[in-house]
Amino acid sequence: MQKTGAQILVDSLLAEGVDTIFGYPGGVVLPIYDVLYDSEIRHILTRHEQGAAHAADGYARASGKPGVCLATSGPGATNLVTGIANAYMDSVPMVAITGQVATSLLGRDSFQEADITGITLPITKHNFLVKDPKDIARTVREAFYIATSGRPGPVLIDMPKDVSSGVAEHIEPGPVQLPGYVAKKEPDPEQVARAVRAIEEAERPVIYAGGGVVSGGAHGELLELSEMLLIPVATTLMGLGGFPGNHPLSVGMLGMHGSKYANYAVNECDLLIGVGVRFDDRVTSKLEEFAPGATIMHIDIDPAEIGKNVDVDIPVVGDVRLALRQIIKRLKPRLASRWRDKIAIWKKEHPFGFEENGRIKPQQVIQEICNVTKGNARITTEVGQHQMWAAQYYTFTRPRTFISSGGLGTMGFGFPAAIGVQVACPDETVIDIAGDGSIQMNIQELATAVHYKLPVKIAIMNNGFLGMVRQWQELFYNRRYSYTELENPDFVKLAEAYGAVGIRVSKKSEVRPALEEAMAVEKPVVIDFPIEREENVYPMVPPGEPIHKMLG
């Protein structure tokens, strides 16, 4: 059957199970928008393309389904770039569709032309420039396959206007054939056997679990493995929720702002079992002294991660869930209980803590958020101190409930991501824990939340500073607060101007009532918490130090 390119595109998206697109229109995507007008696909109009990309990202992280965003050529496409890079760094499945100038105008610096496939080469898993409407259906199929299989990631499809407005036969693409693409799943039995032996022989094993556990749906297997041998579990920022934070074997987050006991445990373990992690420098700090006495095991679906940063003694390449299953199947339970006791003592001796005074402490606000939501909300964050406090003081017990920009550290991510999360989980409480700096990077999305009746809550930890940068200036630049103090708008009035609800908290005693009030409102709410201005995030591994040498 003959169809326009845009019709083929939308039908192909439907065939992939797409129910929502986050986007922003423009000249060269008009053919696509015209088809969307009659389509069953829900289109969410954000107020900035960066918001659309982050919303698609949040949607994907919360639902496990690929997020889809759409933008026009040139400035629309370049506005997606940060969101695409963010998804790439955190291995989030995403398909970004951009309009492009007509093929006859390509390469002539035409109006609103940008070489977006060139620009996104290093930040996509793969990208396509479609030159003929008859290639659209196959391209969409391949894009979704690549985005969601193996190590997930963003894929971009660039669609010139004459391609979307042109006409072609819609040929069903059939199964994907990409000779150069392997999504290896089954781990090698020999690697599994070596892993089993190492785990059985270890006296002081520690699991270090990352985002791969969450995206690979391996949380059940992780719990089983840990409980079988009483192996303590540390998680990365991306791994939070992949193991229940309230479990006795949980040692919380490790790394720069991790718990002391997680860092001590990793420093003294004899076997480090990395699961779906990438040995990021925010975790390892000084590489040469990371887990110095340990045999390093690394379970990951991406072979290129093995040995990228650390030398791995026991690699297990494959789907994390399958790998853990096979390991569990062969393991004979044996309890490393003395080691567990030692960790329990560290846990008791070095708890997270902050000094209480009369003022509002961010840590306390986060604890209250956890109490009020009973740990059941979906939390997104921006980037900065508040992000670390959220990671430290909210107890995450389920996967996909902590959604934060890990690899890229993108200020402005949390709020649009929360919009995507709320779209994916309409019946759940979604809270963006924000800083006063970060929230202003995509605050315009309040209009989106209000328009689509997405009752996202924004809790602003308002310290009047770009807090995390100020902390570094305090510690390493002699308190020279160069351009990190903020003069902020009235966030309550701002919320109201957008048609949302604003709540200002001024005393400690108002923290909980404000949160309860916010939860009770079926509307987007902004709560402004004026927190202690110069509070620091501790513990902290100073840059260049080994992880057991922490400040605070």
Partner: protein
């Protein structure tokens, strides 16, 4: 250490940019890269010479594997292989020196492909060592222009690093 990689890629637009970009942004150093199509018009072959220790090489290979357009990679460094490079050299050659230059060309089995009033342009093929030696021998005359193709290579004997159309990428 220098490694010679035989890389089969899909003959898609942009594939060279993907490969070259990967090298530059990950800080891997390419010594040379030669690319052209193979017996199968859908498949191109790149011969990449890259410098680095085993660790670097392992990462290069794994990162290349991740590119969707890359079908197969062989490190043929330790194999017996035939390699060739082509060079074109335009060298100063006054009538008085012309005989000497032509003698050098003879020794290296180079061919004269163009003749100017004061220059000779020579073409020579051979492995890297030979091409280097050829270049050095001509240097005293004054090389006005020189262009090398970069190395292409093929494993000797019956071992085959081409594209087996079984639809799968080699595991590493």
């Amino acid at each position: 250490m220098r490694h010679t990689l035989a890389v089969l890629v899909e003959n898609n637009p942009g594939v060279l940019a993907r490969v070259a970009g990967l090298f530059s942004r990950r800080g891997f150093n390419i010594d040379s890269l030669a690319v052209g199509r193979t017996e199968n018009p859908d498949v191109s072959r790149m011969t990449i010479v890259v410098d680095g220790d085993d660790r670097v090489l392992e990462q290069v290979t794994k990162q290349l594997h991740k590119l969707v357009d890359v079908i197969k990679i062989n490190d043929i460094t330790v194999d017996e292989y035939v390699d060739r490079e082509l060079v074109l050299i335009k060298v100063n050659a006054d009538p008085a020196q012309r005989g000497e230059v032509m003698q050098i060309a003879d020794v290296f089995r180079a061919r004269i492909v163009d003749l100017g009033r004061r220059t000779l342009t020579l073409e020579c093929t051979g492995n890297e060592g030979k091409i280097n030696a050829f270049e050095e021998s001509l240097r005293p005359y004054g090389i006005k222009e020189l262009v090398r193709t970069g190395k292409i290579a093929m494993v000797r004997g019956s071992k085959y690093t081409g594209y087996h159309d079984n639809g799968t990428k080699e595991e590493n």
